[in-house]
């Protein structure tokens, strides 16, 4: 145990001397959280739409007004031909085009279904879906109020949103950011630090010393565990203070979950270090194994349920997935450890597997 | 020596890093074909000086001229005329012996006949014939050292800088290496070598002792020894309890200082009058003394003495 501490202290001293790495490990995540939390969201407003009104009646103008009143759309301009509309979209100056045919008002007042044409720029599929949703919503609303008749809908819907009534996507993204940043710092720093010794040849010296592999590994990873934990807590506090991220659960449970996740992350770094010969390879491997799955397959941004089955399976071995479920559960839903036994078990299992494989590989040398 | 005859001329060269002065007002000359040694502890400023002379580091003040070219003003101009071997024998580990040679030859623009000749020279000099396709990382210390030297000499530079070239190399290889250096000097190449091995410093024509960035002493080894100890004899005292002996000797006014030398004690007398006889007489009777004999100073004695005096001067 004492030798592990000695290694840990030496590692900490090395980190402390490398001021830039230290700053990055502790302060930068918080800074970026601030930046991202402020800048990133999927909520869409001010969608630029151009209108080709071929009817020019009170009704058609009322329809256009309905789009404006929805607060989602900004009328970017008026066009008079298909070619003009094409140009607006090609140049990216408008996201959608509303074409109102010349018989619009007539059709509406005679009880026939009036058809308008909406062209949406599909190149950003994420926003296009949402834009379509908004368009349908506006059209539906307009249907009920135009044409001079107000007909109450037969079935209406009363939505109630739990956990995040204002539907702020920040609330959803922030835990993901925490997972992502923690994963990177833990995995990459651990991998690099060990591989660096390998590269420099000091690895041999250390292994010669009367210190067991376990102590060595413990000593190497402990400092990064502590630093990542500090970083994660710093991010959480910043999120709560600056973004009003609620904290409906208990801090001890939260810290437990974060620690479990970080241990798994460090184990991943360790595993990478047993596979890579040089720091360059270690970094690229860590990026591949840690960063991208955490970004893409963990449910951080893209919903897992919508992915093809094969990827859902792969996602089940991405620790960040369970971390996010647990983190969101604690922070937003106020769940306690009992309710979260599933994800926590998964995190523990992952950590054991990864550390186990690393131990086997290290022992073999 | 005339200006034209001097290979290296250094005049009041200094380098400061913020508040820290690494090299302090260094001035010396090196003649053509001379083996010039830079002796000093780690951190004394040897590598920093060499890097300035090679055009890798900008001096804070002072000038240096290599083969007649002012390094401060025209660092690139000197590069064709110098060879440099760094402390870490910078070779490309993944490249073979052949490839490393080819690489440096390519950088210096050697081709055709000249390349073939120099390649052969490097291989033979290094004893690497037959090892052309061995990767550098597979070579042991001595071989790498010779390969690095060979690569530094490919373009036949008249002046060569060797920074701690024998670090971590076995004694046999070290001796071999110095034989090569002697050969170089004989054929007219000027060699400036830094070292902290005293036995190597003995093999140099002249030695500059560097301490805390300053030139503490300069001269042939014989001159240095004479300067330091002609009037201050060194007496080697042997006894059963060296430490007690040292304490007793220190207490004597005729002894300037003492140091442990293996199991014996070296005592430096304050003046020429101090001898084996006077010393034995001055020692308290209870102490067991087996032998006292005057010895000729070694370079180690000189070095320690110079450093002592330099520190005393610095503190004053």
């Amino acid at each position: 145990m004492r030798s592990a501490l000695a290694v840990a202290v030496k590692e900490l001293r090395q980190i402390a001397r490398d001021r830039r790495t230290l700053m990055i490990l502790i302060f930068l995540p918080t800074f970026f959280l601030f930046l991202y939390g402020y800048a990133l969201n999927f909520d869409i407003r001010h969608i630029a739409i151009v209108v080709d009104d071929r009817d020019q009646t009170a009704d058609s103008r009322a329809l256009v007004a309905a789009f404006v009143r929805s607060t989602y759309f900004d009328i970017a301009g008026a066009t008079h031909s298909d070619a003009e509309a094409t140009d607006w979209i090609d140049r990216g100056r408008a996201r959608a085009v509303l074409v109102i045919p010349s018989d619009f008002s007539q059709a509406l007042r005679s009880g026939v279904t009036a058809t308008v044409q909406v062209i949406v720029d599909g190149d950003n599929a994420n926003t296009a879906t949402t834009v379509l949703g908004y368009v349908s919503a506006v059209l539906r609303l307009a249907s009920a109020t135009l044409g001079g008749r107000a007909v109450p809908a037969l079935v209406s819907v009363e939505p109630r949103i739990w956990y995040n009534p204002e539907l702020r996507s920040t609330v959803f993204l922030v835990p993901g950011l925490i997972a992502f940043i923690s994963m990177i710092t833990a995995v990459v720093s651990t991998a690099l630090s060990i591989v660096r010794e390998k590269e420099r040849g000091t690895m041999e010296q250390v292994r010669m010393a009367p210190i067991s592999t376990l102590s060595f590994v413990l000593g190497k990873t402990l400092p990064y565990l502590v630093l990542s934990l500090i970083g994660a807590v710093a991010i959480m506090l910043a999120a709560m203070y600056f973004f009003g991220l609620p904290m409906r659960g208990a801090w001890p449970t939260l810290l437990l979950v974060v620690t479990l996740f970080l241990i798994g992350a460090l184990g991943t770094g360790l595993l990478v270090s047993t596979l890579a010969d040089t720091q360059q390879v270690a970094f690229q491997a860590a990026a591949l194994i840690a960063m991208l799955p955490t970004l893409i397959l963990s449910g951080f941004i893209f919903p897992i349920a919508s992915m093809p089955v094969a990827l859902q399976v792969i996602s089940s071995v991405v620790p960040a997935r369970y971390f996010l479920v647990a983190l969101r559960g604690i922070v937003l839903k106020g769940l306690d450890a009992g309710a979260l036994w599933g994800p926590m078990l998964a995190l523990v299992a992952y950590a054991c597997v990864v550390l186990g494989i690393s131990a086997v590989r290290l022992a073999r040398r | 020596m005339s200006e034209a005859g001097r290979a290296i001329t250094v005049s009041h060269l200094s380098k400061r890093f913020g508040a820290f002065t690494a090299v302090d007002d260094l001035s010396f000359d090196v003649g053509r074909g001379e083996i010039f040694g830079f002796l000093g502890a780690n951190g004394a400023g040897k590598s920093t000086t060499i890097r300035m002379l090679c055009g890798l580091l900008t001096p804070t003040s002072g000038t240096a001229s290599i083969d007649g070219i002012d390094v401060g003003r025209d660092p690139e101009g000197v590069k064709r005329r110098i060879g440099y071997m760094s402390q870490r024998f910078s070779l490309y580990e993944l490249l073979t012996v052949e490839q490393n040679i080819r690489f440096y030859a390519g950088l210096y623009g050697l081709d055709g006949d000249r390349f073939t000749r120099r390649r052969q020279f490097a291989l033979e000099m290094g004893g690497l014939v037959g090892k052309e396709h061995v990767e550098a990382r597979a070579l042991s210390g001595g071989w790498r050292q010779r390969l690095a030297l060979g690569c530094a000499l490919l373009h036949e530079p008249p002046i060569v800088f060797l920074d701690e070239p024998t670090g971590g190399v076995d004694p046999v290889s070290r001796r071999e290496f110095w034989r090569l250096i002697d050969g170089l000097a004989t054929s007219g190449t000027t060699v400036l070598v830094t070292t902290h091995y005293l036995d190597e410093a003995e093999r140099c024509d002249r030695v500059a002792i560097i301490h805390a960035g300053r030139l503490a002493a300069l001269g042939t080894t014989a001159a240095l020894k004479a300067d330091a100890f002609d009037t201050r004899p060194i007496l080697e005292v042997r006894g059963a309890q060296p430490v007690a002996l040292m304490g007793a000797l220190d207490a004597l006014p005729m002894v300037e200082k003492t140091s442990l030398f293996g199991t014996a004690v070296h005592a430096v007398g304050r003046d020429a009058g101090v001898s084996a006889g006077t010393l034995r007489a001055a020692l308290p009777p209870g102490l067991e003394v087996t032998d006292i004999v005057r010895v000729s100073p070694s370079l180690e004695d000189v070095f320690l003495d110079v450093v002592d005096r330099s520190e005393a001067r610095g503190a004053a």
């Binding site: 969201n41 949402t130 349908s136 079935v155 949103i161 956990y163 | 440099y84 490249l95």
Partner: protein, 374 residues
């Protein structure tokens, strides 16, 4: 001079060839990442798990529930007895939405206007954690309800006035997220690989000490720089070809524009990423610093703020202004433009210009900092 550069490039390639691990990663990683992103990256919402609590159990309420069961957007995972059943599902995350049909739903519909409105109201309880998906799911619910209403109205002979939106989606008719994401991946991968590899490679030479050895030779500053950058430019270019091939032939992402234009844009972009790598190397003493700096200071912000996933229009003005400094942003526009819209240089020239300016500036700055003598 050319010989010296050739010598440097030759050396770099020997080292690359002798690092099989690195080679494998540099070739395999892009393809793997492409696959991951290609298949996973979708904000389309499908198979939304919902819980239904039918408090009425009338033919009308069954018909309502049936509409949801039949929809590809929803997946009814449970039918509960009471609204409290929904709580557990939402808490555990096994369902995103709960639908509660009140008792009297069917009769409320029968009696129409004369009935109390609350009987005809379906309560939708949504897990707001994933705001984006919830929002879309809610919109789908509204859509299905609207259809239900229209069906009812038609059956009674009082058709509701309808404004029907005939929607055409351009460039990406199936709204395949993939077509949007994959061209973006190209931009991302190039930056990740070339910037990092380059910066670490240069710093490694500094760490080992061979950089000093190089600086002592008569080689020129630009020869050194080119000798280091060109090999990785080639690696980057091969990655471009690889990614484009996989995107087009495996993922069937439409490539409607000009391939030479795409390759040309890639080359300009490579100047930016390599210059960035060089710049980072001048700021880092160790490989770890180089990696940390390039990833945290440059790559990550660029990934998030370039419009790769999160639309720039949604960002606060100040940050939008900041994003004009990110080369990835312009390259994304070019790549998506060429792949999906098939547009040409006449439309994309502002982006090309921006990239060229950025690349030149970064390279100049980096070169100024890469002196042979410190």
């Amino acid at each position: 001079m050319r010989r010296r550069i050739r010598t440097l490039i030759w050396k770099e390639f020997i080292e690359l060839r002798k690092s099989p691990q690195l080679l494998r990663i540099v070739i395999i990683a892009p393809v793997l990442q492409l696959c991951m992103l290609g298949y996973a990256a979708t904000t389309d919402v499908r198979n939304v798990p919902i819980v239904v609590v039918d408090g009425d159990r009338s033919p009308d309420s069954r018909r309502f529930v049936e509409k949801f069961a039949a929809s590809p957007y929803f997946d009814i995972v449970d039918e509960g007895m009471a609204p409290s059943d929904i709580d557990a599902h939402l808490a555990r995350g096994t369902a995103w939405l709960g639908l509660v049909l009140p008792a009297g739903f069917g009769s409320g519909i029968e009696r129409g206007d004369r009935a109390d409105g609350s009987q005809r109201t379906v309560q939708v309880i949504a897990d707001g954690t994933d705001a984006n998906s919830s929002g879309v799911a809610l919109a789908y619910v509204q859509g299905l309800v609207g259809e239900f209403n229209a069906d009812l109205a038609r059956e009674r002979g009082t058709p509701l006035p309808q404004i029907d939106g005939r929607v055409r989606v351009w460039f990406n008719a199936d709204l395949e997220s993939r077509n949007f994401m994959i061209p973006g991946v190209l931009a991302l991968l190039l930056m990740l690989i070339t910037a990092n590899l380059t910066s670490m490679a240069i710093v490694r030479e500094r760490e080992i000490g061979t950089l000093d050895q190089l600086n002592v030779t008569p080689i020129g500053r630009w020869e050194l720089i080119l000798g280091k950058l060109l090999p990785y430019a080639l690696v980057g270019f091969i990655d471009v070809l690889l990614v484009v091939a996989v995107a087009v032939f495996w993922f069937q992402v439409p490539l409607r524009g000009s391939v030479p234009l795409l390759l040309g844009a890639s080359m300009v972009y490579l100047v930016c990423t390599l210059g960035l790598g060089l710049l980072v190397s001048t700021m880092s003493a160790t490989q770890q610093q180089a990696m940390m700096t390039s990833t945290f200071f440059f790559l990550l912000p660029m990934i998030y703020l370039s419009g790769f996933i999160f639309p720039i229009e949604n960002m606060p003005r100040v940050i939008q202004w900041l994003t004009t400094l990110i080369p990835l942003r312009y390259f994304l526009v070019i790549v998506r433009g060429i792949f999906l819209k098939g547009v040409g240089f006449n439309i994309l020239w502002p982006q090309f210009l921006a990239l060229a300016v950025w690349g030149t500036a970064v390279l100049a700055l980096a070169a100024a900092r890469s002196r042979k003598r410190t």
